[in-house]
């Protein structure tokens, strides 16, 4: 087993306007804010709605599915990472935004752009839950 954290601490975990997203991950939900002023649902979560700059939201759970938009295998990163590792740029299935996430459970040869992926959540210690992605497999 590795002793490396394999992630970097995001800088907005404590930010009151975004913390519901990180809290949601702890309970297994991938949440996006919907603006109470204009109804826009957007991702990534931010302090203000990018459409109308409203700052009051309700938080909605997304499906946790996505599609691989592009990927890279990194051989060059901070000492926090075991190398190499696969990084995917993933379109959220709802079409509202993207995440760049570690790809687990696949080799580079098994990846193809457009393939369906599932967002998984891991407890990364320090009370932080993080997302990563795996190929979507129908059991």
């Amino acid at each position: 087993m590795t002793s490396k954290p394999n992630f970097l601490m995001p800088t907005n975990v404590e930010s009151p306007s975004v913390s519901p997203f990180w809290e949601g991950l702890k309970t297994g939900r991938f949440l996006a804010p919907r603006c109470r002023d204009c109804g826009e649902i957007f991702f990534p979560p931010r302090s203000h709605c990018p459409e109308c700059l409203g700052d009051v939201f309700t938080w909605e759970a997304l499906s946790g599915k996505g599609y691989l938009y592009s990927w890279t295998e990194l051989f060059f990163a901070q000492p926090e990472f075991d190398l190499p590792f696969l990084l995917g740029l993933v379109d959220l299935a709802e079409g509202i935004g993207r995440i760049a996430a570690r790809i687990s459970g696949a080799t580079p040869e098994e990846l193809s752009i457009g393939m369906p992926l599932e967002i998984r959540i891991s407890n990364s210690g320090d009370g932080l839950a993080l997302y990563y992605v795996e190929p979507f497999r129908i059991l």
Binding site: L8, P10, P44, Y69, S70, F75, F76, L89, I99, A100
Partner: protein, 387 residues
């Protein structure tokens, strides 16, 4: 407006020299080339390298040069800023507020500070905390790698096609006295070099190095009086797309082609009254060989995906349809990022003066300079014409 003076040091490493030392050398060379006295400098436009002197770069130069400009700015806008020094100098001259301006940029101790700062503080804020940050790595190679992979998916380009662009740049660099890397390389060398972030390999990537460059801009009447070979700034276009590095807030935003480059080029051609095919020689800001294929399609010389055939057929070589990065480009000239747009400009000025030596494009009359910031999130395209 016209460029009447250029000065630069060979791209490399200068750990023993202070930035002010490099600055005074390249500024002196540019002023002598322009046959302008430092006391005649009316505008000073610089860009900091984010390691020191931020906010005091113009301050320091005014004392060291003993000049009192009427207009000045220290411009900080990512890697496009070196190009913006020229744009704002030209704006001030066009508005009639000044008649001469000095533009300057430099990077020192490149390897020590920039990537560390980008990862651990100053630049880190631009990596979206919720959507990217937990897994984003040093620098922004990973972002360009995602872009390159997507371009391969959409066009059928291969890693070998990217390698061809790196080889073209290296061949050209051999004829540029300011270039850092001149030893010839073959496609196999690029393909065998180690992966940094697939599909990008070591020899596909621009090395972050030290450099310093200065350019003197003047009004047309001053240029006519002083310069035997003015290079006219015929027009420019500028655009910032609504995105930051990798766009995460909208699945329709492309990372294989870039709106900012396209808009900047369209506006530049319109302002200068020329068409893409009128350009004889171009310097483009491609930090990785993959983007040597993407950017020419965005500027408008080729349709999407056509650069694959063009790079295989040598259409961007010296003597080809549109010679690109005749000075070695970012990958072989070397990449002192804050000064890179000024190095590109200097190479075009040499071409348009007919003074480019071994890399001269025959009878070059119109030159195009492209630079950008983030990952092509913004773009500046400037058109130059022979005097």
């Amino acid at each position: 407006m016209a460029i009447i003076g250029i000065g630069a040091v060979e791209v490399g490493r200068y750990p023993e020299r202070r930035e002010s030392d490099l600055a005074l050398q390249v500024i002196r060379d540019a002023l002598r080339d322009a046959q302008l006295s430092s006391k005649q400098v009316e505008g000073l436009f610089t860009t900091p390298d984010l390691q020191g002197n931020i906010g005091l770069q113009t301050n320091l130069l005014c004392e060291y040069l003993r000049i009192s400009p009427k207009s000045m700015a220290e411009i900080c806008c990512g890697a496009i800023a070196g190009g913006l020094t020229l744009k704002y100098a030209a704006d001030e001259i066009q508005a009639g507020r000044i008649k001469t301006a000095l533009c300057y940029g430099a990077v020192r101790e490149a390897s020590i500070g920039w990537f560390k700062n980008l990862s651990q503080g100053k630049g880190w804020a631009m990596i979206e905390p919720t959507a990217l940050q937990p897994y984003a790595a040093y620098g922004i190679i990973w972002a360009y790698a995602l872009s390159a992979r997507r371009y391969m998916h959409e066009t059928g380009a291969t890693e070998e096609d990217f390698a061809l662009a790196a080889v073209r740049n290296r061949k050209n660099a051999a004829g540029n006295p300011l270039a850092a890397f001149k030893k010839p390389i073959a496609v196999e060398d690029v393909l065998r070099s180690r992966y940094l972030s697939s599909p990008i390999k070591l020899l596909d990537a621009a090395a972050s190095l030290d450099g310093a460059a200065a350019v003197v801009v003047a009004s047309e009447d001053v240029a006519r009086d002083l310069s035997p070979h003015p290079v006219y700034i015929q027009g420019w276009g500028l655009c910032h797309d609504n995105s930051c590095v990798i766009p995460t807030d909208d699945c329709s935003k492309s990372i294989s082609h870039f709106t900012a480059t396209r808009e900047a080029a369209r506006r530049a051609f319109q302002a200068a009254g020329v068409k893409p095919d009128d350009v004889d020689v171009a310097e483009i800001y491609a930090p990785f060989s993959s983007h040597e294929l993407i950017i020419p399609e965005d500027i408008g010389w080729f349709e999407n995906g056509e650069m694959v055939k063009a790079i295989r057929n040598g259409e961007t070589d010296i003597g080809g349809k549109i010679p690109i990065n005749t000075d070695g480009g970012l990958t072989s000239r070397g990449h002192p990022w804050a000064a890179t747009p000024l190095y590109e400009t200097i190479s075009l000025v040499r071409q348009l003066r007919g003074a480019a030596g071994a890399i001269q494009v025959k009878d070059a009359k119109v030159g195009l300079m492209h630079c950008e910031g983030g990952m092509m999130n913004n773009g500046l395209v400037m058109i130059f014409g022979r005097g």
